[in-house]
């Protein structure tokens, strides 16, 4: 039971990362690697602020702002300086490695004696594990509702159209550069928030905790889309959140079955590669079956 609770809570905290990756990968149609730097950035900023005595809520909000700035940097590189988006993200990610070390002052910052968002919240009848679950659920719900609202507004619709058809949206008077920057800003703010929460739940921030986060985000997005559908934007948001939880469950199961934790990233990479090639493999398989039955 404890394992189920901690799996779902981890899924919820990482769901913010998944929503962030969804915004760049699906809405803007950009594979944004900034994520690998903005996730630990969020953790580093939050940890540093908490150890300096800041309130956990303040720490999380400032972590978000830091993530947003990282997104703006990538946006500036790819729109104004015309660096391909993939490379722009890699540049920001590498730069953030140094920035994160500077913020923390060392490679690992423990949060053992500090108040965190999870330790200051006392909900009657809930133990520590359930508290993380409850807070995670509330935050994810709030973020999902805000995203649903934002992407339904004129501005949000314009960002979605930018990813879908930049010619069309320019012909309708929207500056696509600004829309790309806004999308990256929002995405990385959420990713940093996820980092800030994960650091508080794990009890430390580490400069290496960003490695592989883009793949984890992609895995959540794709698993969610395959299992729970993509009918509408609302449906997609829910799918991505559930996808993040399912991803954590899959990881928990394979670890229980005895897979060495060191092989986790290899396993995740194979999972995502398979999921991304699914449409092609499916088409091949259907063609093969038609030919066999003929």
């Amino acid at each position: 039971m404890d394992l189920v609770i901690s799996t779902v809570s981890q899924g919820l905290l990482w769901a913010l990362l998944a929503i962030g990756v969804y915004i760049t990968f699906r809405v803007l149609d950009i594979a944004d690697l900034t994520v690998e730097g903005s996730f630990p950035l969020g953790a580093a900023v939050a940890a540093k602020l908490l150890t300096s005595g800041a309130h956990p809520v303040t720490a999380i909000l400032i972590a978000c702002i830091a993530g947003a700035l990282a997104g703006v940097v990538t946006g500036f590189l790819c729109t104004k300086l015309k660096i391909p988006a993939l490379l722009a993200g890699i540049l920001t990610m590498i730069a953030l490695y140094s920035v994160n070390l500077r913020i923390m002052g060392k490679a690992n910052l423990p949060l053992l004696s500090q108040d965190t968002i999870f330790s200051i919240t006392k909900i009657p009848g809930l133990d520590a594990g359930l508290t993380v679950l409850a807070i995670g659920a509330v935050i994810v719900l709030l973020v999902a509702v805000l995203n649903y609202w934002f992407f339904g507004t004129e501005l949000g619709t314009a960002i979605r159209a930018t990813g879908c058809n930049p010619h069309m949206i320019r012909a309708n008077g929207i500056d696509t550069d600004i829309m790309v920057v806004l999308g990256l800003l929002l995405s990385n703010a959420l990713v940093a928030m996820s980092g800030a929460l994960v650091a508080q739940s794990n009890g430390f921030a580490d400069v290496g905790m960003g490695v592989g986060t883009i793949v984890i985000g992609l895995a959540s997005v794709i698993i969610g889309e395959v299992l729970f559908g993509t009918r509408s934007f609302k449906n997609c948001l829910i799918s991505v959140i559930l996808g993040s939880i399912v991803y954590r469950a899959v990881i928990a199961i394979v670890l229980q079955m005895g897979m060495p934790p060191n092989d986790l990233k290899l396993f995740t990479a194979i999972l995502v590669a398979l999921a991304l090639s699914m449409p092609l493999l499916q088409a091949r398989w259907n063609k093969f079956r038609r030919e066999v039955t003929r």
């Binding site: 339904g152 507004t153 949000g156 619709t157 979605r160 159209a161 058809n165 309708n172």
Partner: protein, 264 residues
């Protein structure tokens, strides 16, 4: 309404693929003018239109719309004045988004997007009314994704989107070339209906000389990056396809006709 003064455009200057696409082109459209543009491949028709729309900057010359010099404006800013329908039916609409969302974007062409919800119940009634005018049954499919529509339906929708926030200038870049003849005819008659109802100043490129003669009140023919001739309404009324060919032969040299002009 539109004043183009001596614009020139060269692609890939100082390289082996250098191409002079427009050479000192000047053109003036009075309000309500509906000008059809013909010419062979590489004549500069699409380049002219893209320079007006701001897809590429011009090397020299100036472009004015409704008295405003827009030569240095980026593409998205010019959209305030210009409605466009592209040759590719996929280009004018966002496929992954609903018909309603596409219309909401077009209804606010040229305005800064705000944090208001993109369409209200009142907007939707208005969209339904406009869609009913297309006679395609789209008024009952507001929440369908545009990607589910046929090429002809998408082109009709793009035409509606280009004109719903009344443009000072409508640019049609061979907007029926990718459609089957019957659908093309429908979209063309819809074009005529909308243009005449709203008295839109329109520039329409076509590969089809019969359409070029049938539609609009003026015809220009382009060749080698220049306007070869500009035929006013009275003269255009009495022309036939063979007259156009003869005029082209005389102006450009007979041996060029079969190569550079697609006959239809």
């Amino acid at each position: 309404m539109l004043t183009i003064k001596e614009i020139s455009k060269t692609f890939n200057p100082n390289t082996i693929t250098e191409k002079l696409a427009l050479h000192d082109v000047s053109l003036h459209l009075a309000p309500g003018d509906f000008v059809t543009v013909i010419g062979g491949n590489g004549a500069g028709k699409s380049t002219l239109m893209n320079c007006v729309a701001g897809t590429y900057p011009v090397d020299e010359g100036s472009i004015e719309i409704a008295g405003t010099d827009i030569t240095k404006w980026p593409e998205h800013r010019r959209a305030k004045f210009i409605g466009r329908v592209f040759q590719d039916p996929m280009m004018g609409t966002a496929a992954n988004m609903q018909i309603e969302e596409n219309l909401a974007i077009a209804a606010r062409r040229g305005k800064r997007p705000t944090l208001r919800w993109s369409s209200t119940a009142k907007d939707r009634d208005h969209y339904r009314e406009l869609l009913a005018g297309l006679h395609l049954g789209l008024e009952d499919r507001l929440t369908s994704k545009v990607g589910l529509l046929s090429g002809g339906q998408r082109q009709a929708l793009t035409l509606l989107m280009a004109t719903m926030a009344e443009p000072k200038l409508l640019l049609l870049d061979e907007h029926t070339a990718a459609l089957d003849p019957k659908t093309a005819e429908k979209v063309l008659s819809l074009t005529r209906e909308i243009v005449s109802r709203q008295h839109l100043t329109t520039l329409m490129i076509t590969h089809n000389m019969r359409d070029a003669l049938k539609f609009g009140n003026r015809l220009i023919m382009m060749y080698g990056g220049q306007i070869l001739f500009d035929i006013p309404e009275e003269k255009k009324k009495h022309l036939e396809v063979k007259d156009l060919l003869a005029m082209f032969e005389q102006a450009a040299g007979s041996e060029l006709v079969s190569d550079s002009l697609l006959l239809s």
